[in-house]
Symmetry: D2
Subunit: 360 residues, 4 copies
Amino acid sequence: MSSTYGTLFKISTFGESHGAAIGVIIDGCPAGLEVDTAFIQSELDRRKPGQSRITTQRREKDEFQVLSGIFEGKTEGTPISLVIWNEDQRSKDYSHIAQQFRPSHADYTYQQKYGVRDYRGGGRSSARETAARVAAGALAKLLLKQQGVTVQAYVSQVGRLKLETPYQQLELAKAEENAVRCPDPELAQQMFDYIDETRKQGDSVGGVVSCVVTGVPAGWGEPVFDKLHAELGKSMLSINAVKGFEYGSGFAGTELHGSEHNDQFYVDEGTGRVRTTTNHSGGIQGGISNGEDIYFRVAFKPVATIMQDQDSVDVNGNPVVVSGKGRHDPCVVPRAVPIVEAMAALVLADFYLRNKAAKV
Amino acid sequence: MSSTYGTLFKISTFGESHGAAIGVIIDGCPAGLEVDTAFIQSELDRRKPGQSRITTQRREKDEFQVLSGIFEGKTEGTPISLVIWNEDQRSKDYSHIAQQFRPSHADYTYQQKYGVRDYRGGGRSSARETAARVAAGALAKLLLKQQGVTVQAYVSQVGRLKLETPYQQLELAKAEENAVRCPDPELAQQMFDYIDETRKQGDSVGGVVSCVVTGVPAGWGEPVFDKLHAELGKSMLSINAVKGFEYGSGFAGTELHGSEHNDQFYVDEGTGRVRTTTNHSGGIQGGISNGEDIYFRVAFKPVATIMQDQDSVDVNGNPVVVSGKGRHDPCVVPRAVPIVEAMAALVLADFYLRNKAAKV
Amino acid sequence: MSSTYGTLFKISTFGESHGAAIGVIIDGCPAGLEVDTAFIQSELDRRKPGQSRITTQRREKDEFQVLSGIFEGKTEGTPISLVIWNEDQRSKDYSHIAQQFRPSHADYTYQQKYGVRDYRGGGRSSARETAARVAAGALAKLLLKQQGVTVQAYVSQVGRLKLETPYQQLELAKAEENAVRCPDPELAQQMFDYIDETRKQGDSVGGVVSCVVTGVPAGWGEPVFDKLHAELGKSMLSINAVKGFEYGSGFAGTELHGSEHNDQFYVDEGTGRVRTTTNHSGGIQGGISNGEDIYFRVAFKPVATIMQDQDSVDVNGNPVVVSGKGRHDPCVVPRAVPIVEAMAALVLADFYLRNKAAKV
Amino acid sequence: MSSTYGTLFKISTFGESHGAAIGVIIDGCPAGLEVDTAFIQSELDRRKPGQSRITTQRREKDEFQVLSGIFEGKTEGTPISLVIWNEDQRSKDYSHIAQQFRPSHADYTYQQKYGVRDYRGGGRSSARETAARVAAGALAKLLLKQQGVTVQAYVSQVGRLKLETPYQQLELAKAEENAVRCPDPELAQQMFDYIDETRKQGDSVGGVVSCVVTGVPAGWGEPVFDKLHAELGKSMLSINAVKGFEYGSGFAGTELHGSEHNDQFYVDEGTGRVRTTTNHSGGIQGGISNGEDIYFRVAFKPVATIMQDQDSVDVNGNPVVVSGKGRHDPCVVPRAVPIVEAMAALVLADFYLRNKAAKV
């Protein structure tokens, strides 16, 4: 298992969904950063269950506790340990699946790899682990804010309902005004209804989260293997249920000619800064930020847990029928928005620090 | 810069396109592996320029030399150093761009990050660096072959020409029978013509490479952050010109319901092995291989170098017209096939070794 | 800061001496290991304060809590999080030093490096951090025990009182029968009296901890840079107050000729195993274990906190007199014994896992 | 095997003593550093064989070639690859030991770990590998020079001949004026005679190299595990034949009381800088540099190769007599001086870069 991520701004998460607690150590956050704990909590609140009818009805307050690394309101340069206690465990909900492999969950692969597994609610493979990422990501956001960098994600697709408008023409802040986190209010309502309908059928549905990062100066990202977009891609693909990642022109860009796709440089008269007239590059060239907005899209599959009977096998290889129980999200993307932002912030904070060593 | 990749099977590449040489050190390859050097060369030959009319006409033999790590035909457990000398440098071809930033190349970002750059043919940002990856990947393939694992990639899209047939219904070996590396001969011919037409117009075009990995047993991959698909994604996104990655159902899967998307388990009567009836998971669940085929798709943008005039700026911020010169690929995907395979093999070799430590 | 250690068996510690808690995440412990929690507690008890008159009189129970990674008594392969709450904080004891730099402490260097510091009892630089290492090391010992490996340390010097007897002629288990942890009972009493005398004078004294590891098979250790003894050395030097490390013949071996120092090989008739007639190599050749006992010595300086007035400066550069207060160890080596063992066990567990990937 | 070292200033070495070449990749050297290639060669010359009667008579020019990373005389920020070709291989000299395990060499342990080994002159375990370190270390020295940091080592002991004078009272530059590299000319002559005598007897002898680093500002080093002295210790212990490491007061300091050992702070009137009246700390407190000189000592065993018959076993477990042949150093410390300096420089360069991320 590798639950550590990052080179200089490094996080290590721990915890099973039904163990005592989950949490994270952040090692490498620069000293002297003022820590707005209310902000960290507000980020956790954006991810927590039970926010609306279309998210899981589990009741977890997801309040975090600081165990170390913050002194008199500031980071000390030492490891920052944040813990979130598991309250609403209800292990009984999961006892029926101790011997079964739920389709498209990690039950079977964990069993094969480790020989043992915590069958209670997915254990370590539960998306509950991402709460620790959100807490750490909030700290990364505070560090990035000092550098003028903002990270904002939103839902751009639920099932076949797609927001085709380019992000530049959207008011992204509106995403936080509805339960779906889609910045187009009308489409958001359609998405809400669709998810709610799916929920009533005991089914689930997939979607896409888009993310825009502004304010990154030219120079972040470490070629060859740790290209900025490669690390963004890895970080997104490490989130539960993610099946794909694209940045800038992405898969659609494969259909274009170079003469259409190339971003031409010019000098902005006002600022004297080198800019590009278009941004198919998604703010990254050769793995390094070029000063333009960074944007990317993340594909989430429909969550595996559904309230329907499914054929499967048990640990002894016997056919079984897995019955859906418990409280789960019919669509993961609304709650995935802060997770995507957190992972992006963690990657960017790390590259910000690494870039300090680029030149003599 | 980070030119090192992997945890146990670790590679470090070096070299600029117009320096003395490029190469790679492979550190962590298990001892006692028989090294088929002809196979390594044949993999390099699949990537080398000048293979057909639709690839760059540069003449590089790309012959490799072993500097260390192989003794009496076998790996020693020590670092294996492979060097490929740069022969056909023709630095003059590039002198005109020393002061210019070519659109959508890494010229500007390298300059901003490092303050200096080797302007000859892209220097370190040149795709020539991938030859070192192919050499290392060939070694990884030899290691994987012992484990019964095969890695096969092919071109599934060029511009808007798409191979929609699922890989299971294709004869993948046919991909190597044509210059495009598309396993559908008819479509391959259309793609060839399209690329050739694009070349004549001095333009370039993007495409998609698909990859299938067979024979991986259940258990490879290291959750949480180093999920098998997350590392595959990073490795692919680290290849020049890649804009997106998806595995299994990918972006298309976001439109489905869970009841359609879930892969149900059954026990194969012949082998007694747990299998799935469908494979939307792409052979990976919870970041760990489940024993089914692993498959994924990689999006390549149209290469930035085109034989047309483009507006840009120079290092002093003055407007310039960049004229396309030199010898370049109008479409990168045919030569990207062995690169995609190499990166996949490197990731899998690493996870194979890491998995040895999973259980007591 | 880097509070993470290890490649496959990886630990991350956190916590300040007077924060809420200290603790550790162990990531990479193989799944399926039975966890004897009473043994972990007993190891912590060997390190905890207040064991006798010659150790600090602070009262800390150092009881640990498992937050994750252990399920039904076994490791799950997931990160194991252990927390030890700080009980006896008495922050007032330390308020007088908030503005002062204590001589030979880390006050000044932390202030210079980080710009802020937790002045309460040394904060992160306190040896209290080593409790987390002992907890993690106990787990490593359980893993090593399965492989037949034992790690035993003891006090071999206090001030000028030296145990010159080679370890082979000692009954090492006797070390745990006295407060000093010296296996020679008579010398142990002299050491005790000497430490006690030192304590009464408000002074401190240094010493040496020796360590013997048995049962390591040939093959552990990763040349070139991660030689077994190099990593052992780093791990020991990372313990507070350590000033030196030597293994096998060590510094004394520098005086010998090769003809005296070389360990000749022979085949043991009983086991058929290749052995050496002497063991100046300390069980390690070329950075790799050779199957003989591994042994090494660790030098600890006199602890910096003394109950005497000392000249120093404050954070504003003004001369001050630092008065010794609080409760501290007059000699650190008795309590350092389990810490040395823990670090050795962590290094060996890591190399045990890494060695699984050495050969095809 | 792990032949990679460093976090940001990272080196990867390769090569067997009798393979085609040895070399190193330096990844992470900041861009824009002017590279004095003559200086790099002069450092290699300090390490090369055949410098005097008391070093091995092998003839290797040890000239290096730059394969990448340097453009127009400056580092580019890309991996710098340096290669040294093996010229004087004379493989026949070593054929007699293909089946034998030389006492106190790494023959047996490599065979056990890897199942294969390059028996020609020690292969990868040969000290020839350190030439690559010296080349990389020379680059690190150039980087450190910009920061006002100097690294100077010297021989302070050969066999029982010891230089007891504190380094502050020595003229260290004189070390380079004699073949032994001892700054006391008279003692140097005695050492020379002793080594020469040892050589004539076909024997070898150990010794100690001391090292002094000046100009490091307060703040370098990363607690907890990557303490400055812990990493220095590891780097030194990774050098062939090293058996021990101590810094500051070292093993001798264990005999002192805290009241003698503590370094009291004062403010230097001239510079306003916080200084210490003594320096038992060796310039490092809590793992972080405090601005005083850093100094340490490294113990080298007598080299294992001697020109005498020794009992051993062969790969089949049969008793054999190993006869000393070939050309070897009777005492390694004179040529170890630049190696010690190189490793110290590499560690310091890495911490210099890492420290850039300590504070907001």
